[in-house]
């Protein structure tokens, strides 16, 4: 967890247009996070980066309707890539510090997340508010998957 904090900040402060950033988190499972910049939505590079994902995290800007609407495109693209297989994950509303400029309401986003089988949380990277939550959710879902698989392995013989 200690390791995360710095990497997670890095992830959000960096210019998302960069090619790719990988972070390693060590506990019982290792999580590799690929940060795809928003400009890559229709880039071919994603097809290679997104091979066999096991969890997903979509970050949108609560002050931008367009950013929220794009979440559908991201999810569609991912579902196409994983032939419809359910991938656990989290929808993250960022920039909650910009109270006056907020246009996407929590209920609306939460509902969309639920409809699409995702968890939901809100953060402000600027204020360092709740920024660990998405990582915790991702790590938990990956670890849960591991525990289930190990039970399957145990039952084989």
């Amino acid at each position: 967890l200690v390791k995360w904090t710095s990497s997670c900040l890095l992830m959000f402060c960096n210019d998302g247009a960069h090619f790719q950033k990988n972070y390693t988190l060590v506990s019982h499972v290792e999580l590799f996070l690929f940060d795809s910049g928003g400009k890559e939505l229709f880039a071919e590079i994603l097809d290679r980066l997104w091979e066999q994902p096991n969890a997903l995290c979509i970050v949108y800007d609560v002050t931008s309707e367009e950013s929220f609407n794009n979440c559908t495109k991201w999810l569609e693209k991912l579902r196409a890539q994983t032939s419809g297989m359910h991938i656990p994950g989290v929808l993250v509303g960022n920039k909650t510090d910009l109270i006056d400029r907020r246009v996407v309401e929590r209920n609306q986003a939460q509902e969309w997340a639920e409809t699409n089988g995702l968890e939901y949380c809100e953060i402000s990277v600027k204020e360092m508010e709740n920024y660990e939550a998405p990582f915790r959710i991702l790590a938990n879902s990956f670890h849960q998957l591991y525990k289930e698989k190990v039970e399957t392995f145990r039952s084989l013989v």
């Binding site: 019982h28 499972v29 290792e30 999580l31 590799f32 066999q52 096991n54 990956f142 998957l145 591991y146 698989k149 190990v150 399957t152 392995f153 084989l156 013989v157």
Partner: protein, 138 residues
């Protein structure tokens, strides 16, 4: 001809490298002679492990018991140290829903002191390796 399994801890085999190590499912489970214990991978592929056979021996057949492995590559080294690996075989395995994958590879008189198994891809996020058997001509 008589064969002995050399991939056993009791025969002096050791796992000298493994890219995952959950202490509940350690790589040593591969060489304990049991199929019910296993090594579990804990992250992204490729994943690999190297078994030291204690000395250079002549292998006739290799068997691996695993689950959810898709692309498997086996390499061997005849050196004193785990270096200079050469490809033995690379194979796409079949998925076996609910039962172990048991893969046998025949290598007439192959010399090896180290065996390296690389799991390049998988049918799921994690795989297990239960046993490796190296039939050595006694």
């Amino acid at each position: 001809m008589k064969f002995t399994d050399y991939c056993l801890r009791s025969e002096g085999a050791e796992v000298v490298l493994a890219t995952s190590s959950d202490e509940k499912f350690p790589p040593e489970n591969i060489i304990d002679g049991r199929s019910d214990t296993f090594w579990a991978t804990t992250g992204m592929f490729p994943q690999e492990f190297i078994i030291s056979l204690n000395k250079c021996v002549t292998i006739n057949k290799l068997t691996i018991q695993c689950y959810l492995v898709q692309t498997l590559r086996i390499e061997k080294s005849m050196s004193k140290e785990p270096v200079d690996f050469e490809l033995c075989i690379q194979k796409e395995l079949q998925s076996t829903e609910g039962e172990l994958q048991i893969e046998e590879f025949s290598f007439p008189e192959m010399q090896a002191s180290y065996l390296r198994f690389i799991i390049l891809s998988a049918f799921d996020a994690f795989v297990s390796v239960h046993r490796v058997i190296a039939d050595v001509i006694a």
